[in-house]
C-alpha cells in the first residue's frame, strides 16, 4: 500500500483532488446547515419550554458546524462561507434528503435526530484520521460538541420508545408515533451514506478512510441493539457478505428490505427543500452584493 501523504493546507491540495474534496465538504456543510434550520424551527413552539432552549442550542451547534465546513470549502475554491450557504441554486446543494424534510411532530424530530446523530458519529470518527489536516482538526472539535447531541437524542428516543403497554396509554401513543416516524424516515436515512462518484479518489488519497458502504454498515451495527430493545422498525436483514476483501472483517452485511431514497448528494431534493430555499435565500437575493 502506498504511503499516504498528509495535506496540511488548502494550497497543498493536489489539483485533481480540489473539486472532489470541496464537494465532500459541501455535503457535510449542507447536511448540518439544513438540519440546523429545521431544529431551530422548534424555537418558541416546542412541547416543553425547556426543550425549546435545548433544541435551539443543538440547532446553533449544527449551524456552527456548517459554518466551519463552509469556511473550509471556501478556502479551497476561493469564495466566502455566506456565498456558499446562500448563493447556490437548489440543485447545487448536496445534503441528504433526510435532513431536508419539514420538522414534523416531536416524534419525527427525535427519530430523525437519532438517525442523523448516530450516523454522523460514525462518519466523524472516520474523518479524525483524514489525510487532509484541516478537516481532521475541525472534526475533533466538532465531536466534542456532538457528545451533548447524542446524549440528548438518545435520552429522548428512550423516553418515547419505552413502553410495555398494549392498550391506549400515553406511552403507547408515543411509541406508535415514533414507529410511524421511523417508517417514513428509514428510506431517507440510508441516503446519508449514498455512495458518491469521487469516493475512490478520496479513499486513495487518505482523505476518506472508509467508503460510504463501510460507514453505513458500521452505523447500522451500532444502532441495531437499541432498535431491537425498543421494538422499533429496523428494516434490514443480515446476509452473508460477498466474497470481497473489504467485507471479510465482519460475519454479515445488513441489507435493506426497503427501497432507499437516494439523490441528495447529486443535487436532487424534495419539495420541502425548494420551499425552504426560497425563504432562506429571500433576503440575501434582494442584493447578493450587499452587506447585511
Amino acid at each position: 500500500m502506498n504511503e499516504i501523504a498528509t495535506i496540511a493546507t488548502p494550497q497543498a491540495i493536489p489539483p485533481t483532488l480540489r473539486q472532489p474534496l470541496a464537494r465532500l465538504l459541501l455535503s457535510l456543510a449542507d447536511d448540518e446547515f439544513i438540519l440546523g434550520y429545521w431544529d431551530s424551527e422548534w424555537t418558541g413552539v416546542a412541547p416543553i419550554l425547556e426543550e425549546d432552549v435545548a433544541c435551539s442550542s443543538i440547532a446553533q451547534d449544527e449551524i456552527g458546524h456548517a459554518r466551519l465546513f463552509y469556511e473550509e470549502t471556501a478556502a479551497i475554491i476561493g469564495t466566502t462561507a455566506d456565498q456558499l450557504a446562500y448563493g447556490r441554486q437548489p440543485a447545487e446543494y448536496r445534503q441528504a434528503q433526510l435532513v431536508e424534510r419539514n420538522r414534523g411532530n416531536w416524534a419525527f424530530t427525535i427519530a430523525r435526530q437519532y438517525l442523523y446523530d448516530t450516523a454522523d458519529n460514525v462518519r466523524l470518527k472516520a474523518f479524525k484520521d483524514s489525510a487532509y489536516l484541516p478537516l481532521a482538526q475541525d472534526v475533533s472539535k466538532i465531536q466534542r460538541e456532538e457528545v451533548y447531541h447524542l446524549m440528548h437524542t438518545a435520552t429522548w428516543l428512550d423516553r418515547l420508545a419505552n413502553t410495555h403497554a398494549t392498550n391506549n396509554t400515553p406511552d403507547n401513543t408515543a411509541h406508535a408515533l415514533l414507529t410511524a416516524a421511523l417508517e417514513s424516515l428509514w428510506p431517507d436515512a440510508i441516503g446519508l451514506f449514498e455512495p458518491f462518484e469521487d469516493e475512490e479518489l478520496l479513499l486513495e488519497a487518505g482523505i476518506l478512510s472508509r467508503s460510504s458502504k463501510q460507514l453505513e454498515q458500521e452505523w447500522l451495527e451500532s444502532i441495531e441493539a437499541t432498535f431491537g430493545r425498543a421494538r422499533l422498525p429496523f428494516p434490514f436483514i443480515e446476509v452473508a457478505p460477498a466474497s470481497d476483501t473489504i467485507q471479510q472483517a465482519i460475519p454479515y452485511v445488513y441489507q435493506p428490505t426497503i427501497q432507499p431514497r437516494y439523490g441528495g448528494r447529486q443535487g436532487q431534493h424534495v419539495q420541502d427543500f425548494m420551499e425552504l430555499w426560497e425563504q432562506m435565500t429571500m433576503v440575501y437575493r434582494l442584493d447578493p452584493q450587499a452587506q447585511w
Partner: protein, 223 residues
Amino acid sequence: MQQASKGATLQDAGDDVFEVFQQDLKRDNAPHHGGNLRAPDTELAVHYAREFYGRRQESDRLWIIARTQLWEIQDTAYPVAHPLSEACYQQARYQQPQPDQTAHEQAVIFAVFGQQVAGKPMEWLYDLPAPLNLAEATQQLTTGRVLSDVPYPARLWLCPRESIIELNNTDLLHPPLDRSYRRLDGYNIRDKLRTARQRSSSEHNQTTEGVEFTTEQQRGQSS
C-alpha cells in the same frame, strides 16, 4: 391517567423541581444558587441545567439537587421540607414544622447552604463533618446559630451530600467552537458607527450632537 383539569396541581405537568447551583472557578469561592427548573427526571434535569446555567460557558460546575431532597431552616429548632415542595406547594408559605418528622432517619453527610446577605443567592457553606440524621443535623446547626458570636445566615438549606448531582464535563460546559455571536465582545461596531455618522452628518450638514432640531428641519435638508 386522565388529562388533568386545567390549572389544577403540580402533578399535571409531571415534573419535579430541581435547584441549580453554579460556580465559575475563576470568580466564585463556592457554588451559589442560580435558580431552579422543572424536569421529568434527573437525567433531563442535568441536560436542562446545562442549558439554563451553562450555555454561555458561565459555569465550570453545576450542582443539581431535587427540591424533595432539600430542607430549609428558618429560625426554628426543626427543619421543614422545603416549603415549596409537595404538600406545602399550594400555600407556598412558611408552615409550622413537625417535630416528629420522620424523613431521613438514617445518618448521612449533609451539605449546608446559607444566605449570607439579604437578597443575595444561597451559597454552599460547608458539609457537616459527621454522618447525622436530619433531626441531629438541625440541632447542630440551630445550636451553632444560637451560640455563634458572628452573624449567622438567616436562612439555611440542608441536603444529603449524596443527593447532589454534579456536572463538570468540559465538553458540555465549555464546548470548543466559536460562540462570540452571542456575546457582547463578539460585536465591534466602532468603525461602522464612524462611517454611519460621517455619512449622516455630511448628508444633513448639521452637528450630530444637536438636541433641539425638529423632524421638519431634518426632512427639509435631506437629499
